[in-house]
C-alpha cells in the first residue's frame, strides 16, 4: 500500500466525520459513548439470562441510564426476572447504575464515602435502596475506554473485594436457580462479577483475577 493512498483514505474518513451533525461534544460525548456501551452490554446480559432459562420483563417506557449512580427505586425503569427453577419463588430485578453497600461497611460501621461503590448493571433480590453486597447475584462492569490499562484491573479487583470474601468455589447464586448455567465462583457470597471490555487487550489481564471470580468478557460492537 502506498503512503499517498493511505493518506487520501485517512483524509476522506475525517472529511466525512466532519460533515456529521454535531451533537453535544466534550463531556456529553464521553457520557454518551459510555452509556451506549452499557446498553450494548446489557443486551448481551439479557440474552445470556434468557439462554439460561430466566424470563425477563421490562417495567417502564424508556430505558434510563444515569450519569450519576444511585439507589434502587421501583419507579425507575427496570427488568423483572423470573428464575426457571420450578421450586424457586425468588424474585430478582435488574437495574443499571446502582451503588451497593460494601462488605466492609457493616464490619466497621463505615459512615464515610467508602460505604458505597457503583456497579453498571446489577441483578439483585431487593427492590429498593442501596443493595447490600449480600443482595447482588450478578454485577457487570462496562469499560469502553480507548485502551485497556492495568488501572481497570485494579478497580475491578477492589470492587470484587467489597462484594465477597475469597473462599472455596461454590455454585453461584444465579447458577443455583437454573439447571443450564453451571457456574462455581470462589467467593462468599457467591455472586458473579463480570468485566465487559471493548478493547481486546483486556483479555491479556484476566488470568489472576479469575482466582477471585472475576470473568472478563470482550464485547465490541
Amino acid at each position: 500500500m502506498k503512503e499517498a493512498v493511505a493518506r487520501k483514505q485517512i483524509e476522506n474518513i475525517f472529511k466525512k466525520y466532519n460533515h456529521l451533525p454535531k451533537g453535544g461534544g466534550g463531556q456529553l460525548a464521553g457520557i454518551t459513548g459510555g452509556k451506549l456501551y452499557e446498553l450494548y452490554v446489557l443486551s448481551h446480559v439479557v440474552e445470556r439470562l434468557h439462554k439460561w432459562g430466566f424470563s425477563l420483563k421490562f417495567i417502564g417506557n424508556t430505558l434510563k441510564f444515569k450519569a450519576s449512580p444511585g439507589k434502587i427505586k421501583l419507579s425507575d425503569p427496570h427488568f423483572e426476572i423470573t428464575p426457571p427453577h420450578p421450586n424457586s419463588q425468588k424474585s430478582l430485578w435488574l437495574f443499571v447504575d446502582i451503588e451497593f453497600e460494601t462488605l466492609g461497611t457493616p464490619r466497621v460501621k463505615a459512615k464515610d464515602k467508602s460505604r458505597h461503590h457503583e456497579i453498571d448493571i446489577v441483578v439483585v433480590d431487593v427492590d429498593h435502596g442501596n443493595p447490600s453486597f449480600k443482595n447482588i447475584f450478578l454485577g457487570v462492569e462496562c469499560k469502553a475506554v480507548a485502551k485497556f490499562r492495568k488501572g481497570i484491573l485494579k478497580e475491578v479487583l477492589g470492587i470484587r473485594r467489597e462484594l465477597s470474601l475469597l473462599s472455596d468455589p461454590a455454585r453461584s447464586l444465579l447458577s443455583a436457580l437454573t439447571t443450564t448455567h453451571l457456574k462455581a465462583v470462589p467467593a462468599d457470597p457467591p455472586s458473579e462479577y463480570w468485566l465487559a471490555h471493548i478493547d481486546a487487550a483486556g483479555d491479556g489481564y484476566d488470568d489472576s483475577p479469575e482466582a477471585f471470580g472475576i470473568d472478563f468478557i470482550h464485547l465490541e460492537p
Partner: protein, 136 residues
C-alpha cells in the same frame, strides 16, 4: 512504505483527531509498552502504532453509532417481554441547569465511516504493517 512515511501518516492522524476534538485517543501514553526486564517504556513500531491508533478510533466510533443503539435494542426485544423502545441518559442538575435527559437515539449512523476505516486497517495489515523496531 518506509518508517518515515508511516510516521508522516501517524502525524496526520494525530492532527486530524485533535481537530475533531478526539486528541485523547492519540495520547502516546495509551500506547506505551513497558519492558518487563528493564521497566523502560517505549512505543510500538510505527506500523503497529498506526494501526493501534486507527483501531482505537474504530472502537470510539462503535460506541457513538446509531446502529449500535438499534442493534442493542433489537437484541433486548428478542429476549424481554414489553422490551424498551428507546434509551436515554439522565444528566444530573448542575448549577443553573435543570436535570435533563439525553436521547441516545439521536446519534448519527456511522456505518459508512466505520466501513472505510475497517477497510483501511485491513489493507494496512495486508501490507505487512507489523513490528519492526521499537521507538523510544
Amino acid at each position: 512504505m518506509t518508517d518515515e512515511e508511516i510516521e508522516a501518516l501517524i502525524k496526520l492522524l494525530v492532527v486530524q483527531l485533535e481537530e475533531v476534538g478526539l486528541g485523547e485517543l492519540a495520547d502516546e501514553r495509551l500506547y506505551q509498552i513497558r519492558d518487563e526486564e528493564t521497566g523502560e517504556g517505549f512505543l510500538p513500531p510505527p506500523g503497529k502504532y498506526l494501526i493501534e491508533i486507527l483501531e482505537t478510533f474504530e472502537r470510539h466510533l462503535s460506541i457513538m453509532d446509531r446502529h449500535t443503539y438499534d442493534n442493542a435494542l433489537y437484541r433486548i426485544s428478542q429476549f424481554v417481554e414489553d422490551a424498551p423502545k428507546a434509551a436515554v441518559v439522565e444528566l444530573p442538575a448542575t448549577r443553573g441547569v435543570a436535570r435533563a435527559e439525553h436521547d441516545l437515539g439521536q446519534l448519527s449512523f456511522l456505518s459508512d465511516i466505520r466501513g472505510e476505516l475497517h477497510t483501511l486497517i485491513g489493507q494496512l495489515r495486508e501490507a505487512g504493517f507489523g513490528p519492526s523496531r521499537p521507538r523510544s
